[in-house]
Every structure is written in structure tokens, then in C-alpha cells.
Symmetry: C2
Subunit: 227 residues, 2 copies
């Protein structure tokens, strides 16, 4: 997918700061916003990585596909997360909006140009790449060696840290998304969640199966078998 209408205009230094990609002496970089409707592609695997994105509102999934349709989601990007940052010139994942999502975007080239002259920015790039790496490393352990129960527990704890407000965790993603993130099937995810419900570890709000309250995080933690 190519950016259709990034011809918005006025670059804002404020936003760049939020991007974590600026220090005081930088030239101004063009920075735009764009909104994607739910279930639309932001970029595809192997497309040129011309832009770097930050989620302003919404949620994004990054995944790889096998020829026969099997899907592995490598990460969910939530409010504030930066994604699409590749070193090579091509994206290594497909990125899709899970719900209607507004992103800020910067040309990769501008970013590189700034990084060239500003050690602080360059350092931020490295730090970000490194935290992506750490996440992937932890996820390899989960995918290679954990049971379905441990995977779901780890998922709930991860999401809890990232999107719980007022004790309620509002998941933007479907059971299938969770399954493809955890290397399971959607039925298995559903069964495990039911089991955790029966165990009194969590409970659902109203009839919405995506709004969850974690009643016993300690038990969840003990189920996960952390690192």
C-alpha cells in the first residue's frame, strides 16, 4: 500500500518530540497523520519501507503469511507504539489496522538524515530496535516451549500492562488474532479463556468477550512460568 494523501501540510515539532525522534537542534521533519479503516492494510511485506509509523489511536497487527495462509502475528502495536522501522529498505511484515486507526508518519529517509547528524536520535533508533528484538526473543521462548495455558496467561499479562484502564482491559483484537499471535488456534484460545474464567482468574464485562477484568494477577503470573 502506498500513502495516498500524505499531502496534509504543516510539520509540527511537537509531534516529532512525541515521536522520540528529536532533540533541540534538529531540522524540522515533515510529519503527517493518516487514518486507516479497520481491516485495511497499512503496508505489505516486501514493500519498500518509505515511512515509519506511530499509532496515535487504534491498534495494528504485524504478521507474516505462509503460502497456504497460515499466519504468524509478530506484534500488536497499540497507542504510542512505533512500527514499520526497518533497517533494510523493505518491510518484513504486513501491517494491518485492527480497528479504525490513526497514525503519525515520517519519511524514513528524513529520519535517517536526522540520525546522521544527531547522535541522540541515532541512539533512540538503536534502543527501539533493541526493544523490538527483546520482545521477539521472549516470544520465541513462548512459541517454542510454552503450553497453551502459559501462552494465554503471558498474553493477558502483556496486554494488561499496555491497555488496562480503570481495571478493565479492552482488547481490540479477535480470538483469531490472539491465536495467530500465540501460535494456537482460535478454539484453543477460547477454551483456555473459558477455563481461566471458571477458575476465577478473570471475568468478562457484560456480553462483550473482549472486555476483561483480571481478578487474580498473581495466579496468572504463576501460570505463566516467566522467563
Amino acid at each position: 500500500m502506498y500513502i495516498r494523501n500524505a499531502a496534509d501540510a504543516s510539520p509540527r515539532l511537537n509531534s516529532l518530540r512525541e515521536f522520540g525522534m528529536t532533540s533541540d537542534l534538529n531540522p524540522i521533519i515533515s510529519l503527517n497523520e493518516f487514518t486507516y479503516r479497520r481491516r485495511t492494510e497499512i503496508y505489505g511485506e516486501k514493500e519498500p519501507a518509505d515511512y515509519v509509523y506511530q499509532v496515535k489511536l487504534g491498534a495494528v497487527r504485524s504478521y507474516k503469511l505462509l503460502p497456504d495462509g497460515r499466519r504468524q502475528i509478530g506484534a500488536f502495536h497499540l497507542m504510542g507504539d512505533i512500527f514499520g522501522l526497518e533497517n533494510g529498505s523493505e518491510h518484513r511484515f504486513t501491517a494491518e489496522a485492527i480497528v479504525d486507526t490513526t497514525v503519525r508518519l515520517v519519511r524514513r529517509q528524513s529520519l535517517e538524515l536526522v540520525a546522521e547528524g544527531d547522535a541522540m536520535v541515532a541512539r533512540n533508533l538503536l534502543t527501539m530496535t533493541n526493544s523490538n528484538l527483546q520482545h521477539a526473543e521472549d516470544h520465541m521462548l513462548l512459541l517454542g516451549r510454552k503450553t497453551s495455558l502459559e501462552r494465554v496467561a503471558a498474553f493477558l499479562l502483556e496486554m494488561d500492562k499496555r491497555l488496562t484502564a480503570a481495571g478493565i482491559m479492552a482488547l481490540p483484537m479477535s480470538r483469531r488474532d490472539i491465536a495467530d499471535y500465540l501460535g494456537l488456534t482460535l478454539e484453543t484460545v477460547s477454551r483456555v479463556l473459558s477455563r481461566l474464567h471458571e477458575l476465577g482468574v478473570l471475568s468478562f464485562i457484560g456480553n462483550n468477550q473482549r472486555q476483561i477484568v483480571l481478578l487474580d494477577k498473581q495466579q496468572l503470573t504463576s501460570l505463566d512460568l516467566q522467563n
Copy 2:
């Protein structure tokens, strides 16, 4: 593990170059060699990351352990590979010599100091971290979604690129290592290799089950279901 006797001496600019971590104007960094016997730990998970390593001779496995002993190997480091490069101050894997292994090592601090002043070196650090990230991303797909046959095929092709000489691939690692890398059991790995042997895709040299000739890489590739 801490470096016991890195009191060798003369820093060599040559080696630093090989390390890919120098350009012409750098100060000289102390660079030492050290040899680890097979099955000894080079560093442990959560130990301070004081050194960065390069395999001069031998092979290394990097892994995470769960409390009950389940192991996930994140990467094998072969001749020329650099490992132990973390952004944070702690190692995120345990690294062990698979066979007797000689490494070059640099203090992380020196490296950072040089990177500070030399954009070229800083760039190399980012590139290296990024290729580690790419490997981890591909491995997540393998661990989350591929069958045992596809995993072993992918493994063989990966190793073939890295350590085949004169048509013969001499694996330094055991079946258990391979299994823990691929998220399988050693028995499954052994069975799949036997099957590939029967299919005429590969053959073993002599009585050594670790020396393999790939007879039909094309078929292997089609078994892998690449990315």
C-alpha cells in the same frame, strides 16, 4: 561467568577491523582472545553484559530456560558471528560453547565509546542488531506455524548456507540442540532426518550423524514453504 584471564596483551587493529567495528580514525580498543571448553558457559542470562564476543573458532548456543528446564535456543553462533551485543546492561540469553571455542572479545564500554564519536561504527551496531531482529522474526514464524518437516528443512538450509564446505555440512550441535532450536523434541528431529534420508534428500558421511550432504536442496526448499 566472568572473564578469568583476559590479560593477554597487545590490541590489534587488524582484528578490530575484522570485528566490523572500526573505521580509520578510531582509537585503538583492547581486544583479547579467550578459549572456552565445550559445554562451558560464556555468560549467563541476566549477568552484566560487559563484553561483546566474536566466534573465531568453534560454535556457541544462546538459550533461555524455563524454571522446569524447558529450553529454547534462540540462535547458534558460528565462525565469524558476533554475539552478546545487548543494548541494556544485562544479557538476555545464556551463551555456552557447544564445542571448544575461541572467541575474540571487546569491552562493551569501549565499543559504546567509539560508537559515540564514529557514526560509521554506530551504524554497524544498528545494522547488526537489525539482522538479529530479522532472524528472530523469521524464527517466530517457524516456531509458531511450521510443521516439524518444514522446521527441519529450514534448519538444514540455514546451516547449509553457513557451514557447508566442499559439499559437506559438519554440524557442531547435537539432536537435542537442534530440537531446542526448532521447538521440537530430539526424537522428532531424528525421525524427520531419517525420513529425509529415506527420501534421498540427504545422506550421512560415514558413521558420523553430524556430517551431512544435501543431495536435493531444491526439494528441501519446496519442503520449507519459505516465508
